[in-house]
């Protein structure tokens, strides 16, 4: 496993897992020997295939489930059964927000307003303050129009935003998101990504579990690859450079990266691999500006061979 870059060492660790294992009561192993740290203000993504234990990991980080082995420290406090059932957890939970993959699980009240007010109702706030909180949250996510609707009647994108709002209303420091873009159309996806990034800018720490590789560069400064064990850790760039490792774990790289590797076969010797369209534009501009004004694509003697290799490298198709 790769080591965490030193950069993060200086930051405050908020959530820490040490040697964490988790088995279901029937003995099936979900997580094995996980060491992981989330620092204040980061955007971290946990990526892995179906059944890799991503959701379980988030549940442990949220203090909902205890590891069967190893230590989970939340805000510096090691969790145990006693603490988990004590009133101390209220303070911990206030600082953590967990958005479940299935928004239906999050929305069980009669109206969206009630769901958003659910958390603040436990904070001993006055009615007026609760009102204010809810209104602010509605505004933040731009869903004021949904407040009186029954969750049952919302579309997929609206449900997702309502679920995020329901968690945000307690104003948590850390936001744990399980597949936040699942089942969303491209527009709703973009909106949710914007919301998450906006929240990160206001200082919230973001942990996202996902198997959608295309959103990783936008949603993470740092990535953990999980497949029951931690397989790798690093910046998105570092992770997406190790295609063999990704393929072993049923994952892949964003499409833009693939295409740039194709261009390489045609003789484009880029300085760095872009992960998104915007980065691609930057990289192209840079190369052209430094390489004497142009990039020259051509078929050289190894092109066909390299392309063949490349196809084999990326392809999950048999």
């Amino acid at each position: 496993m790769k080591k965490a870059s030193n950069l993060w060492k200086e930051k405050t660790a908020l959530l820490e897992l040490k040697g964490v294992c988790y088995s279901y009561p029937d003995g099936t192993e979900a997580l094995n020997n996980i060491d992981l740290t989330i620092y204040r203000g980061e955007k971290v993504a946990v990526i892995g295939p179906n059944g890799a234990g991503k959701t379980t990991l988030l549940k442990i980080l949220d203090g909902l489930v205890l590891p069967t082995k190893g230590v989970a420290k939340i805000f510096g406090m090691p969790l145990n059964k006693k603490i988990l059932n004590s009133k101390k957890m209220y303070n911990v939970r206030k600082r953590l927000g967990f958005v479940f993959q299935d928004p239906d699980v999050e929305l069980f009240s009669a109206t969206v307003w009630d769901d958003i007010a659910f958390g603040p109702l436990h904070l001993n706030l006055s009615h007026k303050e609760i009102d204010k909180r809810v209104e602010e949250t509605l505004k933040l996510l731009n869903i004021e129009n949904l407040k009186d609707k029954h969750p049952y009647n919302l579309s997929g994108g609206e449900k997702r935003k309502a679920a995020i709002a329901a968690v945000l209303s307690v104003d948590p420091e850390v936001l744990l998101l399980d597949e936040p873009t699942a089942d969303l159309d491209p527009r709703s996806k973009a909106e949710v990504i914007d919301i998450i990034n906006e929240l990160n800018k206001t200082g919230k720490t973001i942990v996202t579990a996902t198997q959608d590789m295309d959103i990783v560069p936008e949603l993470a400064d740092r990535v953990y690859v999980l497949n029951k064990e931690l397989m790798a850790e690093g910046t998105p760039k570092e992770i997406f450079s190790d295609i063999e490792m990704l393929k072993r774990n049923n994952l892949e790289v964003p499409e833009v990266m693939k295409l740039f590797e194709v261009l390489k076969c045609f003789g484009y010797d880029y300085t760095r691999l872009p992960l998104s369209i915007n980065e691609a534009i930057k990289v192209l501009t840079e190369t052209i500006e430094t390489e004497g004004g142009h990039i020259h694509l051509h078929i050289h003697e190894h092109t066909h061979e390299e392309i063949k290799k490349l196809k084999g490298k990326y392809n999950h198709h048999s």
Partner: protein, 295 residues
């Protein structure tokens, strides 16, 4: 965590993890090797006999028999005993305890220990008039019989489930002439319990994750009701889609030959041994019941 949450969470996880895991049904023990339908009938005989038997000694004999089966079916005793005792028998024990005292009995018994003599007749609401508080011989004997009978019944049921895979067990119901529609619904219910339990468990998790202060009992009742409402809605929607999926695959409302895979394979499994076991059980039960009837 409140009491509600804890029990809910534990029960749901218990359903999800231990009941559905079938660890012991996969072991290669005696009961596991029997044809599930024949085993099912044999166990019904045993259960009925236990309910019919009167004497304490004979019930003990049944207990011994079930423990032998536990041993030969490679089920760890410790696990087995906790699973059997923890719920019903302990509860029954608490329920039965007062019945050893004369004041809670219907019929007058021979006093074993007299705890207190009032010297006059006491009238108490719901109770028969009494003048002493005593533990009676009959009371102790019948309370013991009661608790043991319950324990043996539970023990047999647990043994049956632990050693049989659920689909086989439910299909076995057809061997006692249960209508196909009913068995089909049973199978589907069983299938969706797991799915809905996961859903409920996640709803509870999400709630727990957002409970950041003390919750009053009334509030938690109302909330649970909301969760049940949401569960109802989601299940209803799901059932409509299941119906369409079934329709799309040719379902015409007639449930016939629903589970041939399980059933057909059942027919092939360890037949001779199973019949021997059934015959032995029937002889065992019949002898005991006859003997009692003659006594």
């Amino acid at each position: 965590m409140s009491f509600t949450e804890r029990t809910l969470y534990e029960i749901i996880n218990w359903v999800r993890d231990s009941v559905f895991s079938e660890i012991y049904a996969d072991k290669k023990g005696f009961l596991q090797s029997l044809n599930p339908r024949i085993k099912f009938i044999a166990f019904l005989c045993l259960l009925v006999s236990v309910v019919c038997v009167r004497s304490l000694q004979v019930i003990l004999f049944f207990l011994l028999f079930s423990l032998l089966l536990v041993y030969f079916s490679k089920i760890p005793f410790k696990f087995y005993l906790t699973r059997v005792l923890i719920f019903i028998p302990i509860f029954t024990g608490i329920v039965a305890f007062p019945s050893i005292f004369n004041i809670f009995q219907q019929n007058k018994g021979r006093p074993l220990i007299v705890l207190y003599n009032f010297g006059y007749t006491v009238n108490f609401p719901f109770l028969k008039p009494f003048s002493t508080i005593e533990i009676t011989e009959e009371g102790v004997y019948w309370a013991l019989t009661f608790v043991l009978r319950v324990t043996v019944s539970v023990s047999l049921t647990v043994l049956l489930i632990l050693t049989t895979k659920w689909p086989s067990l439910l299909s076995s119901l057809s061997s006692i002439r249960t209508p196909e529609t009913f068995i089909f619904i049973l199978h589907m219910t069983y299938r969706y319990i797991f799915l809905l339990a996961t859903l409920v468990s996640n709803m509870l998790f999400s709630r727990k994750s957002r409970i950041v202060g003390k919750e009053t009992a009334i509030k938690s009742w109302k909330l649970n009701a909301n969760i049940i409402g949401a569960l109802f809605l989601k299940s209803h929607d799901m059932s409509e889609n299941i119906y369409l999926a079934m329709l799309s695959r040719g379902f015409n409302g007639q449930v016939s030959r629903s589970m041939i895979n399980v059933k057909e394979r059942q027919m092939k499994e360890g037949n001779i041994k199973s019949y021997l076991f059934l015959i032995a059980t029937v002889i065992f039960c019949a002898t005991i019941l006859l003997k009692e009837a003659l006594m």
